[in-house]
């Protein structure tokens, strides 16, 4: 059973306590309201992504969950405990990766890992973690001299020392190069598969689409959407996006639309290169449509190099949700391109 299925099962019947439960929390700094009634639940074993533009309140929400701040109103429960009142009991079960590393400039990765390892009776071995996050070569380098990605990897290793039940990662891949991002994404997926509950904030929407069981989008202190990535992207008119090895003549595009998409469908260019989208479909794309598209291309010796089904990418949906202006501009450009 997937964690998402477990999550929906948990809402009915004898549900286990959620790993994180946030209920209509409010927070203001002085007169500036940061959170205005945020609610969501993260089920055990689930990878939950909190998305939103900078300033939406993600870090404040995460810091309230971590017990660093107290909500002005609303309730927060983490592994069944109050993060402020029961902090001592809770902290050993939580692995944290803060946005600001929180490590002394003059210490080395090996020293910091050894220090934090001494906070547990039976931690993971610091040396094994150094190797696992690929910091072996930088183990004795002062923190100040580490690259942004190395600092992030050290921070992740620190979060893992105590084999936490709940891992809270605030923008874990920020500042990493593509290879480190890939390795970190794999590691997060492996931890999730091994049963660790993970709360993640990130701007890497592609990662979220691949990794997250459920998502909440925060904008100006409110949750503006939540659900599985498929639920978020599935709403709206169905369409198929694809890229071919060669461009289509207009007549061929029309023929393709008729042959594959049926009456009412049309194929239009979507961006640079031989990228297209098929809209006006009567129903959501099914296996038969994919087979028909592939067959149509094969007959003409065209190679289908990319294929994307569904309404839109998470990124497009995200922009619709949080950036009305940005989304409007993007749509405008798209309409012009299509015309």
């Amino acid at each position: 059973m997937s964690a998402a299925a477990a999550a929906s099962a948990a809402t009915v019947g004898a549900a286990p306590i959620a790993a994180i439960s946030v209920a209509s929390i409010h927070k203001a700094y002085g007169k500036r309201a940061i959170l205005t009634g945020v609610s969501f639940e993260v089920q055990r074993g689930e990878l939950f992504a909190l998305l939103g533009p900078n300033g939406a309140g993600k870090t404040t929400t995460v810091e309230i969950i971590e017990g660093y701040r107290k909500a002005d109103a609303g309730t927060v429960s983490v592994l069944g405990l109050d993060p402020v009142r029961d902090g001592t009991k809770l902290r050993p079960s939580i692995g944290l990766m803060l946005q600001q590393g929180g490590i002394d400039n003059r210490t080395t990765p090996r020293e910091v890992l050894r220090l934090y390892a001494r906070f547990y009776r039976d931690p993971e071995a610091p040396e094994a973690l150094l190797t696992a996050v690929d910091l072996g070569a930088a183990a004795n380098t002062r923190y100040r001299r580490l690259s942004g990605g190395e600092k992030q990897r050290l921070s992740l290793a620190l979060a893992l020392l105590g084999r936490p039940k709940l891992l809270i990662l605030d923008e874990p891949t920020a500042g990493m190069d593509p290879a480190a991002k890939h390795a970190t994404r794999e590691r997060i997926a492996a931890l999730r598969a091994a049963g660790t509950t993970i709360l993640l904030t990130t701007h890497e929407l592609g990662d979220v689409e691949l990794l997250a069981d459920r998502v909440a989008v925060l904008d100006r202190g409110r949750v503006v959407a939540s659900g599985t990535p498929a639920e978020l992207t599935g709403a709206g008119a169905p369409r198929v996006r694809f890229r071919l090895s060669e461009a289509l003549a207009d007549a061929d595009a029309a023929a393709l639309a008729r042959a594959v998409g049926g009456a009412g469908a049309r194929v239009s260019a979507a961006g640079a290169g031989a990228a297209y989208e098929m809209t006006g479909l009567a129903a959501a794309p099914d296996p038969r449509l994919v087979a028909a598209l592939a067959a149509w291309c094969a007959e003409r010796g065209l190679l289908l190099t990319e294929l994307r089904l569904g309404a839109r990418s998470l990124e497009e949906r995200y922009l619709e949700l949080v950036g009305a202006d940005v989304a409007a501009e993007a749509e405008g450009a798209e309409a012009e391109g299509a015309a």
């Binding site: 050993p92 939580i94 803060l98 929180g102 490590i103 993971e124 094994a128 190797t131 893992l160």
Partner: protein, 263 residues
């Protein structure tokens, strides 16, 4: 662990049990001392300057300071007071201010150690440094011919050290917890220099203009040096400086506890 482990799942599995509070505090204390030993400017202010003041002013019999007797008798209490100010205020304030600006305290506060072990380890670090400082200075003074006077009281010396440490650590943490790290660096060093003059450490307070001397005698550096001078056998009544020092300990310690911000 019963489940097979691969490096992919390092960090997953049965959660580790937290160490005892004492073990965590001790680990943090050792870390605190290791980082302190790595800061050259910190060693200068905590060890080299107090020892230098003791040696130079004893050797050349300059104006002398609080206390009576030989030059070394007069210089030892002040140099110990200076050492306390360096460890409890200057060193603690600067280290804590930079920890705070890097988010070190915040990160530790979210670990199993928590804020209480962090505070305890910083306290332990200051105590360890002060013990080493006191042994070093008393050792140097003894080599220069110092012996405890007839009215010496270990109890009074310890009381002075404890109250002085609370007062100066309170001031240090008040700065570290409210100001930018760069401002703390400058201010702590300035206050250290002022203490040399206003504490009756390198010259007696009565060499200062009357009004300045009166104000200075009510401030923590002079009160601490005075209590230590009496405790080391210099003679006199320690009641007044003890009360002054205790008052500052309550005020500065209390202010630090109220105003300190972790991030």
């Amino acid at each position: 662990m019963s489940t097979p482990r691969t490096t992919d799942t390092l960090g997953a599995g049965t959660p580790a049990k937290p160490a005892s509070w004492l073990a965590m505090t001790w680990a943090l204390t050792l870390n605190e001392l290791r980082v302190a030993a790595r800061r050259g400017e910190n060693l200068l202010v905590t060890f080299v300057i107090p020892a230098g003041v003791l040696l130079v002013f004893s050797a050349f019999d300059m104006t002398g300071a609080t206390g009576t007797g030989t030059p070394v008798d007069r210089m030892l209490p002040g140099s110990i007071a200076l050492a306390v100010i360096a460890a409890a205020m200057v060193s603690l304030a600067i280290a804590t201010a930079f920890d705070r600006s890097y988010g070190v305290i915040k990160r530790l506060g979210g670990s199993p150690a928590g804020a209480s072990a962090v505070v305890a380890s910083k306290t332990m670090g200051v105590i360890v440094i002060e013990v080493v400082q006191t042994l070093l200075l008393v050792g140097l003074a003894t080599a220069l011919g110092w012996t405890a006077g007839p009215g010496a009281s270990v109890l009074l010396v310890v009381a002075g050290l404890v109250l002085g440490t609370v007062a100066f650590a309170g001031l240090g943490l008040l700065m570290a917890g409210t100001l930018r790290a760069e401002a703390v660096l400058a201010l702590a060093n300035l206050l250290f220099l002022l203490s040399l003059v206003l504490g009756g450490i390198v010259m007696p307070l009565d060499k200062l203009p009357g009004a300045v001397a009166t104000v200075a005698s009510g401030l923590p550096p002079a009160a601490l040096a005075h209590v230590l001078a009496i405790g080391l056998g210099g003679g006199g009544d320690a009641t007044e400086p003890l009360i002054i020092l205790a008052g500052w300990a309550v005020v500065l310690g209390g202010l630090a506890a109220r105003k300190f911000r972790w991030d």
